[in-house]
């Protein structure tokens, strides 16, 4: 019997400042050469488990440890964080924090520099490491010239240079677009195969991780291990949802269509399943479920026509962009980093001025509107609520926008109370901001804009950094606001978000609109998804693999079934 390289035995951990343990009675053996995925929602303890493996616990974060942990046969508490890093190499979630060097080469060489390795040897090993992750061509680039995925590859090269036996990836997909995520998983798999490394991936995005083979899934919930098994076992068990994770969309579609999944093999990827009669059955279901009255086009609220903008003449960042958002409509603005999404939102909010084109809001020309006036009609909400919240108390934060506009105190109080009620924050109105959870802060950042009574809100990556449950809670809240007549423009590269919540999608790539159509149609077209670094949805891939009559209809059927399911819950 092989010795496990990492072994937790009845292991518990409690952070210094907390009253409850974050990890409870963990028993888990990981063997050399395995590829393990530790899955779970935020707060499940998966990041804490990662800290225990790479030594941040106990060396940076102190606390009470019960039980035993051994890594490569030794107790990490008796080593130093650096000694441990020779066995466990960590690739952190935040690529910008991990990338401390001023150039690619320097960042890869960081560990060698710290070991005071002679320069000649360092140069050789750096090149060799970069070669392994396919980044040698970028050796002199600065981090600002790289995408998130490329920065991550560089971090991986840095870790590979240490010859650590275990590679630990902490939410490797968190900041990547779908195409970047696919490449990252591919690279991790290549390294795993070629180097015989033990790979541990901490993630909550199910479909994206499963693009490549996984040996075992460790499912975590509330600080304990809920289940351990192969992907097929876990997917068929239906446990994912209970753990706040999103099963692959096609697995849900199969459930909606009433297909039994017991003992079905090959669920981990969208591929032919070999269930007799599956095609006809799903086609029948699609035809029935996809039907529905075509929605009435909403009255145009924001009408952007022929917008062109560039920082330097002759180099437009946006070319002839047109976009329509109807009253109370949720529209997704999809596209890769650098496609011009944030430039477009800055043009709409008035931070930037277009070189040509027009913008009308409820029929009025906005050209002469000040940033402030636009802010009252069109709210802009940043991705990270912590970057918008400036006040100590919740009610002050919400009232701030009114206060600077000279609204009388009594009216402020009334409007703040109303908005807090809408956002479900009224019970906490006397709390300091710091007592709120991330999801609540997210709502607070919406409330602070909502109080100005805009008819349209631009949400920048509204669901980034949230697990499925929080994501769903938040977006259901947004949908509810849309029901009250507020329109939303979601700037995102999250396709599920668009698929489930937006009525239409506008795809931007290279500063131009590639497509503007229903989400199901846009995301079933590879000629649109590829240049925009999106992926064809797993639903559409699954439909094609199983020879369904119309992938688009299958996608639409799924969307309708989801909506119906949601209504059923309410």
């Amino acid at each position: 019997m092989m010795q496990p390289i990492i072994s937790f035995q009845q292991y518990s951990f409690k952070y210094k400042n907390q009253s409850e343990p974050t990890l409870k009675d963990i028993t888990l053996d990981i063997y050399p050469g395995e590829k393990i995925w530790i899955a779970g929602p935020s707060g499940s303890g998966k990041s804490t488990l990662a800290h225990c493996i790479n030594g941040l616990i106990p060396f940076t974060y102190g606390g009470d440890i019960r039980g035993r942990l051994s890594i490569a046969g030794r107790n990490p508490a008796e080593l130093s964080i650096f000694e441990l890093s020779r066995t466990v190499g960590t690739i952190l979630q935040d690529q910008d924090s991990q990338f401390v060097g001023l150039s690619v080469a320097e960042d890869v060489a960081f560990v060698m520099e710290n070991k005071a390795m002679p320069r000649e040897q360092m140069k050789r090993e750096t090149s060799a490491s970069l070669e392994r992750v396919g980044m040698l061509d970028y050796i002199d680039h600065s981090p600002y010239e790289l995408s998130g995925g490329q920065k991550q590859s560089v971090s991986l090269a840095g870790v590979l240079s240490t010859d650590a036996e275990v590679l630990l990836f902490d939410e490797p997909l968190a900041n990547l677009d779908p195409a970047g995520g696919r490449k990252a998983m591919q690279l991790i798999d290549d390294i795993h195969r070629q180097g015989g490394k033990t790979v541990i991936i901490i993630e909550h995005r199910v479909e994206d991780v499963l693009q490549q083979p996984i040996d075992r899934i460790v499912l975590m919930k509330d600080g304990g291990i809920e289940a351990v098994g192969t992907p097929d076992e876990i997917l068929a068990s239906g446990l994912l949802r209970g753990c706040g994770l999103r099963p692959p969309l096609y697995v849900d579609a199969l459930r909606y269509a009433g297909v039994s999944l017991d003992g079905v093999q090959g669920l981990s990827r969208p591929q032919p399943l070999g269930i007799p009669g599956l095609g006809e059955r799903l086609d029948g279901w699609s035809e029935q479920a996809a039907a529905g009255a075509p929605s009435q086009p909403a009255e145009p609220l924001l009408d952007v026509r022929g917008l062109t903008f560039g920082y330097e003449p002759g180099q437009p960042v946006l070319k002839d962009v047109s976009l329509l958002v109807g009253a109370g409509e949720i529209v997704a603005l999809l596209g890769n980093n650098g496609a011009g999404k944030s430039t477009l939102s800055q043009l709409i909010t008035g931070i930037l001025k277009p070189q040509s084109g027009s913008m009308r809001y409820a029929g009025q020309d906005m050209a002469s509107w000040s940033i402030r006036r636009r802010g009252e009609a069109i709210g802009y909400v940043m991705q990270n609520p912590n970057r918008m919240i400036t006040q100590h108390m919740i009610a002050d934060e919400v009232g701030l926008g009114l206060k600077v506009r000279g609204v009388p105190a009594a009216e402020i109080k009334e409007r703040v109370a109303g908005v807090l009620q809408t956002c479900g924050l009224y019970p906490f109105r006397n709390w300091p901001v710091s007592a709120l959870s991330y999801g609540q802060k997210k709502r607070l950042s919406i409330a602070a804009i909502l109080v100005l009574a805009p008819k349209l809100m631009i949400l920048d990556e509204p669901t980034a950094g949230q697990d499925y449950r929080h994501y769903q809670e938040f977006m259901d809240f947004i949908e509810q606001l849309a029901g009250q007549g507020i329109a939303f423009l979601l700037i995102t590269h999250d396709m599920y978000l668009a698929l489930e919540y937006a009525r239409r999608a506008v795809v931007l790539s290279g500063g131009e609109v590639l497509a503007a159509d229903t989400v199901a149609s846009v995301l079933s077209r590879p000629e649109v998804t590829e240049p925009a670094h999106l992926k064809e949805t797993s639903l559409s891939l699954f439909a094609k693999a199983n020879d369904l009559a119309s992938p688009e209809r299958f996608v639409q059927a799924f969307i309708n079934a989801e909506k119906k399911g949601k209504k059923g819950h309410e």
Partner: protein
């Protein structure tokens, strides 16, 4: 628990680096209030970094931040004023040495705020006098003219310190104070 101010561990190195970067990143912005004088938030950040991490971190971060910003945006290092930024931050950081002052854990008393203001104002005036002296001695600038400059800069820096720096530190401490007994009011 507060660490010794001279211990140069990884966290201290990063804090100095990020503090200096923050100083550089916020230097480009300011509200102009007169010729050659504007209210810049950068001085408030020095106050905050001093208060949170002590005089040594404050001094080095202020100095590095100022020098790098000069290099990237003005083509010359104004050594007198760069050292002045460091000295200002070091003075403001003296509050870090007071017993019972720990904004990271939300603990401070009224007297700390008074002391912080005294340290800050004294630090600003002394450091600008130093910068002025430096320019008179090494650049050969006329002392009368520098007196005018130092006075104007002192006033604008003190205003920024009082309006931005002090409230930010208090706000930060309040934010980090342990909250208990929160009740939900339906």
């Amino acid at each position: 628990m507060k660490k010794s101010i001279f211990q140069l561990n990884t966290r201290t190195v990063v804090t100095i680096g990020i503090g200096a970067a923050l100083y550089g990143a916020t230097s480009f912005i300011g509200i102009p209030v007169g010729p050659d004088t504007s209210l810049r938030p950068a001085i408030a950040l020095l106050a905050i970094f001093g208060a949170l991490f002590g005089p040594v971190v404050g001094f080095i971060a202020g100095l590095i931040g100022h020098v790098l910003n000069d290099l990237l945006t003005s083509g010359t290092v104004w050594w007198g004023w760069a050292l002045g930024s460091g000295i200002t931050a070091a003075f403001m950081g003296l509050i870090y040495l007071s017993k019972g002052f720990d904004p990271q854990n939300g603990t401070y008393k009224g007297k700390h705020i008074g002391l912080f203001i005294v340290y800050g104002v004294v630090g600003i005036i002394l450091s600008l006098l130093f910068s002025g002296w430096f320019d008179i001695t090494f650049m050969g600038e006329p002392s009368d003219k520098l007196l005018v400059q130092v006075t104007a800069a002192s006033i604008s820096n003190i205003v920024v310190f009082l309006v931005l720096g002090v409230p930010a530190v208090i706000g930060f401490a309040r934010r980090n104070a342990k909250v208990s007994n929160l009740s939900v009011n339906e």
